[in-house]
């Protein structure tokens, strides 16, 4: 279908055809928008309906059981509230550590000249693509030896080394952070650490904001490693509870609660995204590929 529309659009070339092409483009964009949002609409509608209403069949209009489903969910068997708090805590701490220390690392490479600089820079770029899954076996063994198995620390501290965040910060510094500014701070007698905290970090705010959001979302959504690290019910994060919901005997469940829990995991992120979307969409391209 997609190829057809380009061909159709391409064959004509005067003013009227621009109109046709524009029409086709809007039509496809509206369809794509519907395909993107349809699922969330169904989710919203079903989270407002009771189990018996849903068994009777689907209707496209919301019902009145939203609050009832919510109450059933937080008093249910799956600890969603503690899951939300754990997820929030781990994601916030991870985002803070990842952005602060990766900016610091990027600054080290950007502002200083030392013997191993190029070697270390190349090295960090090389390890950027290595997935965490590859080292997870050794990682689990390590945190067992360190006695930090089943703790949030095991998930938070490793984010200090986030090569992708580092790379983004380095790119941003290359384009916006002049070395003369650091030189000027030195002449004014500012210590190196103070220069970084007081002068460099504020200048990096736009990049830090973008990466803080991405790191937060990555941690919030992370399922693979936390599922292998966290075992106590009260320490689990939302994605692990999602697996628990899936494993539970499905038919015994109140479908209103099931939809409510999915909505509870998805909608907060959507709301934050809509508020910050300007920075997020613009920020995607700054790091990955050069524009």
């Amino acid at each position: 279908m997609t190829t057809n529309t380009t061909d159709m659009a391409g064959k004509t070339k005067d003013g009227a055809s621009v109109f046709v092409r524009r029409f086709v483009a809007y039509l496809v964009l509206v369809l794509v928008t519907i395909v993107c949002l349809f699922w969330f609409y169904l989710l919203f509608v079903n989270s407002t309906r009771s189990h018996s209403e849903m068994s009777a069949g689907f209707t496209p209009f919301p019902s009145s059981h939203l609050i009832e489903n919510w109450k059933n969910l937080i008093h249910g068997t799956i600890p969603v509230v503690s899951g939300m708090i754990n997820s929030l805590f781990i994601a916030t701490a991870s985002a803070a550590l990842a952005t602060y220390f990766s900016t610091m690392t990027a600054y080290a490479i950007h502002a200083y000249d030392f013997k191993l600089k190029n070697l270390l820079y190349t090295f960090i770029l090389m390890i950027m693509m290595i997935p965490t899954q590859v080292t997870v076996l050794g990682f689990i063994a390590l945190i067992n030896d360190m006695n930090i198995d089943d703790t949030a620390i095991a998930l938070i501290v490793p984010t200090i080394a986030s090569p992708a965040v580092f790379f983004y910060m380095k790119q941003y510094m290359d384009s916006t952070l002049p070395l003369s500014l650091i030189e000027a701070a030195r002449i004014d007698g500012s210590g190196e650490f103070k220069t970084f905290n007081r002068i460099v970090l504020p200048l990096m705010k736009p990049a830090i904001a973008v990466q803080a959001i991405f790191s937060f979302v990555a941690s919030w959504n992370n399922y693979f490693v936390p599922a292998l690290v966290l075992h106590s019910q009260e320490k689990k994060t939302l994605p692990i509870l999602m697996q628990q919901l899936r494993s539970a005997d499905f038919l015994k469940f109140d479908m209103g609660q099931v939809y409510m829990m999915i909505a509870f995991s998805i909608f907060p992120v959507i709301i934050v995204y809509l508020i910050l979307s300007r920075y997020i969409v613009g920020g995607v391209t700054l790091g990955g590929v050069k524009g």
Partner: protein, 306 residues
């Protein structure tokens, strides 16, 4: 002399600022990598409550997961589902990217559309998979809607057919990533010299010709980047099929991915550190090679671009 020593004094701060990153990397990534590789040469597993090993067995774990069909099968599953999602994803992204950047179209509401298409990328994959599972279940709203429309008479069991499960996984992956790809490709398209398009238009080239003869060839480095990074991401496919199929990769393990298999070998009750290690090393080598291609491709782009 004095000046030089001052510079050296400053430069030691380079090491100090690098220290946290390097230390954490060494402890939490490099040591685990070495342990993982080490484990791949040992027979070490749980069988019920008894623990077997660790006993050194050389490359036996590698030959076992290849000869018993596990690795080839799950690798094939992963690649099939990646490919099914990637093809529509890249086609849609190219089309939307070309439209968004086409100055003669002057599309309005661009920010709205970009916001919408990027939205699924931020959704928790496990929650999204759970949502699809409930929506496509036998009693779910999709079956209800299809029945109301008269498309089907009986509920279609999406979870019991090989290609519907794979199709759902691919659909979710495509939905979650086409917005991201569109935005990356747009950046590449906006980087092309507008004079080239103008010259082509003066020469009477159609929009289709311009797309195939100018946009696509100049976009090649970014297309390679997008494809290889998507492939690396595809190899790590886990959350969506894991939740959708409740860890089983059913029907008949046709939607079991490599990382689901890794997870299985690391989960309480079915631990097999040897297999998990061998699989990790295989993944490590594969992603290493793919990363090198990205490295080379983007490095070349650097030289050409500047």
């Amino acid at each position: 002399m004095n000046k030089k020593s001052k510079v050296v004094r400053y430069n030691k701060w380079g090491y100090i600022f690098l220290l946290p990153f390097i230390a954490v990397f060494l402890v939490f990534q490099l040591i685990p990598l070495v342990t993982t590789i080490y484990n791949s040469f040992f027979l070490h597993m749980e069988d019920g409550l008894t623990v077997v090993g660790p006993t050194f067995i050389g490359l036996k774990n590698y030959s076992t997961i290849i000869s018993n069909g596990d690795l080839p099968k799950y690798f094939t599953n992963t690649m099939i589902m990646w490919f099914m999602g990637f093809v529509p994803q890249i086609l849609l992204s190219l089309l939307l990217g070309a439209w968004f950047t086409d100055p003669s179209l002057k599309l309005k509401f661009q920010r709205f559309f970009k916001t919408v298409i990027y939205l699924p990328n931020l959704i928790m994959a496990s929650a999204f998979a759970m949502l699809f599972f409930t929506l496509f279940s036998d009693m779910g709203p999709i079956n209800d809607i299809l029945k109301n429309l008269g498309v089907i008479k009986e509920s279609y069991q999406f979870m019991s057919h090989v290609w519907s499960v794979r199709g759902l996984v691919a659909t979710m992956n495509c939905l979650m990533w086409f917005g991201n790809t569109t935005i990356l490709l747009m950046a590449g398209m906006l980087g092309i010299d507008p004079a080239l398009f103008e010259a082509a238009q003066v020469d009477g080239a159609t929009a289709t010709q311009i797309f195939y003869k100018i946009t696509l060839p100049l976009l090649k480095p970014i297309l390679i980047y997008v494809m290889i990074t998507s492939l690396i991401g595809g190899l790590q496919m886990f959350d969506v099929p894991q939740i959708l199929t409740n860890k089983t990769g059913d029907p008949m393990r046709t939607s079991m991915t490599l990382i689901m298999y890794l997870n299985k070998n690391l989960s309480v009750g079915s631990r097999n550190y040897g297999f998990a290690g061998a699989l990790s090393v295989f993944m490590f080598i594969l992603t290493g090679i793919l990363s090198l291609i990205v490295f080379k491709a983007t490095g070349k782009e650097d030289k050409d671009g500047r």
